[in-house]
């Protein structure tokens, strides 16, 4: 749609002309009789106005980012400093600044709400002036008191939009909104975290919050940290908290927990230091079993263990945290005394897992077909050997990658890659054996 054709004028930046054109066309595209025509006209009109206003150079339209620069110009501008309104505003601001300077949240909040209650600020013009000056002051003092930010946001409805402010001020207000946004999110997460187990089944974020708030026993959360999804969720939350809500880290959360996470998230050294925990982890556990099984050690499994592993495997269908646990399970089932029957169960679980994991059933089917294909190629016996080998390799590589952060490789991709590699290795071994026999 050409907005100027709709308005019936040449392109212009003259707001007056745009309005006149709109008024003329409005009589034809009357909102009552021609809602669609009116809407087209209205859209054109609003776009034309926006274009004209933008070109007019509204404050901050110069392309300079930087709230500080904007604030400076405002501050040094020879404003109407002498009028009684400004004097009142400055006096109130001075009091707020005093409260902020004292450094504690309580003083900051009370000094701010006191100022906002001042009868002089009933006047909407003074209030608007106070709002802008307050933002400038916040930028100057590099303000991070979350409760005071919340009070200011509530008083001036910044959460509902900051479009009425000049660009520089908008920036500062958005900064404050960031502080509060994180607080709110954490609050929701903590509330949701209450039924953490079920949430755990469907979502990682509340779990991350629960982990950070020390809801888990320290040992347990270290295990959970092995899952990349959870690990990243916690890292993300921690990052946001550090930027926007530092006081919460110090005050509301279990310091030891936070400390552990901080170390493992931020410093490579810290991550290496946690390697001992990985030793206890499922990864190694299953990797060991799988390798043993895969390379011919005959291990007999008691029935209760199989039953327990089946349950874990079922959970695996829903829990993102332990994709590898289940993988181990069907391998174990296959090696057990009832290999063939349990293989059926394992296969069903595996297909379901794949469909879930890959979220695209066609891919799941493709993987399933590749299984059958490999089975047909190598024969059932070799295929099983192949599977053990592939999974073993996968697990080892996966853990190594995770540990050293070498690659942000998708586990699925890794899975397929190791499959191929092991297949090749098996074929090679068979070839060598045949040559030897010959």
């Amino acid at each position: 749609m050409n907005i100027w054709r709709e308005l019936g004028i040449e392109a212009t930046r003259d707001i007056r002309e745009i309005r006149r054109a709109y008024a003329v066309r409005l009589k034809e595209a009357h909102p009552e009789d021609d809602p669609e025509g009116f809407e087209r006209l209205r859209t054109a009109y609003e776009q034309a106005l926006a274009a004209a206003r933008g070109a007019d150079g509204l404050p901050g339209f110069t392309g300079r980012r930087a709230a500080a620069a904007e604030v400076e110009t405002v501050e040094t501008a020879p404003g109407p400093a002498a009028d009684p309104g400004s004097i009142a505003v400055e006096a109130l601001l001075a009091r707020v600044a005093e409260g902020l300077a004292r450094g504690d949240d309580e003083a900051a909040v009370s000094s701010l709400s006191e100022a906002l209650q001042d009868p002089r600020l009933t006047n909407l013009e003074l209030r608007a002036r106070f709002e802008r000056r307050l933002l400038e002051e916040i930028a100057r003092l590099d303000w991070t008191s979350e409760p005071a930010a919340a009070a200011a946001i509530e008083a001036f409805y910044w959460n509902e939009g900051v479009g009425h402010l000049p660009a520089g001020h908008q920036e500062i207000a958005r900064g404050l909104l960031g502080i509060r946004g994180t607080r709110d999110r954490l609050e929701t997460l903590r509330q949701e975290g209450r039924g953490w187990f079920w949430k755990f089944l469907i979502d990682q974020d509340p779990l991350a919050a629960a982990l950070l708030t020390g809801r888990f026993r320290p040992r347990l959360f270290r295990w959970l940290a092995l899952d990349r999804g959870i690990f990243n969720a916690v890292a993300r939350l921690l990052r946001e908290l550090r930027i926007y809500y530092p006081s919460l880290l110090d005050r509301d959360l279990d310091p030891r927990t936070v400390d552990w996470w901080r170390r493992s998230v931020e410093r490579p050294k810290g991550r290496l230091a946690t390697a001992s925990h990985y030793l206890m982890s499922a990864y190694w556990f299953y990797a060991g079993i799988v390798l043993a099984a895969g390379y011919g050690l005959d291990v007999a499994w008691p029935d209760w263990l199989l039953a327990a592993l089946i349950i874990v495997g079922m959970l695996d269908l829903f829990i993102d945290a332990m994709p590898l646990v289940g993988t181990g399970v069907y391998l174990l089932l296959a090696t057990g005394p009832r290999a063939l029957t349990t293989l059926g169960v394992a296969g069903a679980l595996g297909c379901g897992w794949l469909a879930m994991r890959l979220e695209r059933p066609w891919d799941g089917l493709a993987v399933g077909l590749s299984f059958i294909f490999l089975m047909a190629l190598s024969g059932a016996r070799d295929f099983m050997a192949f599977l053990y080998g592939a999974f073993g390799l996968w697990l080892v590589l996966g853990v190594l990658f995770r540990l050293f952060g070498l690659l942000e490789l998708d586990l699925e991709l890794l899975f397929l890659g190791t499959q191929a590699a092991t297949f090749a290795a098996l074929k090679l071994r068979r070839l060598i054996e045949r040559l030897r026999a010959a």
């Binding site: 909102p31 809602p35 479009g163």
Partner: protein
Amino acid sequence: MIIGIDLGTTNSLAAVWEDGEARIVPNALGEALTPSVVGLDDTGEVLVGMAARERLLTHPELTAAAFKRQMGSDRGFHLGKRKFRPEELSSLVLRALKADAEAWLGEEVKEAVVSVPAYFNDAQRKATKIAGQLAGLAVERLINEPTAAALAYGLHRRDVESKFLIFDLGGGTFDVSLLELFEGIMEVQASGGDNFLGGEDFVDQLVGAFMERVGREAGIGEEDLEGKVLQALRDQAERAKREITKHEAGTLHLTWREQALSWNVDETIFAELCEPLLARLAAPIERALRDARIPAGELDEVVLVGGATRMPMVRKMVARMFGRLPAVHLNPDQAIALGAAVQAGLKARDGALDEVVMTDVCPYTLGTEIAEAFGKGHVRDGFFMPVIERNTTIPASRVERVSTVQNYQSEVAIKIFQGESRQVKDNIFLGEIKLRVPPRPAGEEAMDIRFTYDINGLLEVEATVLSTERTERLVIEQNPGVLSPEEIEKRLEALAKLKIHPREQTENRTALARAERLYEERLGELRHFLGEQIAQFEAVLAYQDPREIEEARDTLTELLNEIEGLPYL
């Protein structure tokens, strides 16, 4: 002929566009205002207006008031054994106004423009429209109250470019609208409001304070505060409120178990009591100014509308907020009805109004619930996606595209909400559309949701599945506040069976109801005297001689005026 109606919480009135100007239609008593009170007489006949308001004190169980506050909900009002919905009671008021207009114009009236608070939501608007239907009036247009007032105000000021704010504090609702006049166009830039803030709340403050300071000592418990006692106290508070406005002080009287209680209030005390109410006035104004991006200093005028703006404390508050005296050119009670009549004239394409175009806005954000994805394949629902942002000029139509979040889901429920919160649980639920989609993996099925907000402020939602081109329109079913067409039919039948008190008897009935109310209120000799007067008047009524009745009525009215002063409206 289309009439304009201001259907208020406390009072209602009608106006018509005639000979190039808007005129107020007087009711059967010759007054402009008809109290929005509906009751049943002892004979079962429906009483509306002043007579019903008098009987609110003597027969609270047969009378209902302030039902506008329940519009759009399924809360019922019991009048005797019958239960009425708020839209039915409103329809009885509308019917009375219609009869007044017909008597005055000498022709049948079938269409009306009815005003609603700008901040009324979809269900409340629909209920108002249905109330019109139940009264036998086609509601040609719903107009926002401040917009109507702006029409009445701006009609003769169109030549000058200006920006003004309409501050409309009615009996039950508070609305603010910011308007700009340019090139002969009246454009609402932003609207805001509070659906539960009005003159009635100021009265409640007085009632509460009376109970605290006088009532409790006299042994009136909270549980006694119902029926007659409550209504008498509210009536006293209303009178005191008016007294304070006029003479800076007033007194509440109450007879409780043979003891006469009274409490003097002056303006300072009253203003202190109402501090929390006054504080609530600022937010909608500030929001509207922000949305319109108009600094308060740029306003050319602040126009007061609504009876409650007569209170000095409200005027002082406005003066403090804007640093100037508000404009009081308009009769605050009548501006909205007059504006509705102007709109009726516009609707009828009256020649005198040829050049006027008024555009309005949608005062709140409308949108749907969506689920957001977190991490890998995890979705959490309950988030609000705005489709039409608040203060968008209407009529407006907007489309948003959404897609499925679950694998192989075969149905999508599109829930419609109104509000400003990011989480739908904090917004108002308006309705739901269910849509069948071909079961395919998540994200592969998309649909367009179109919101169309029409000039009456009514919302229509349409959803189209892209792959099948199947379209569903929203019929809001889940909302108990809105009657279905079948129910409307049923209610119409039920209402048709009601007997309406004859209009020509209104004056007699009102005088009698007032005398009966005074009889109950007063004690001793005066009561005895009033009893005699009532018996005498009833005897004259029985003779059915119009002239004698008129004389007797005038005598009685004069007597009543002498006892308690002129009745207030």
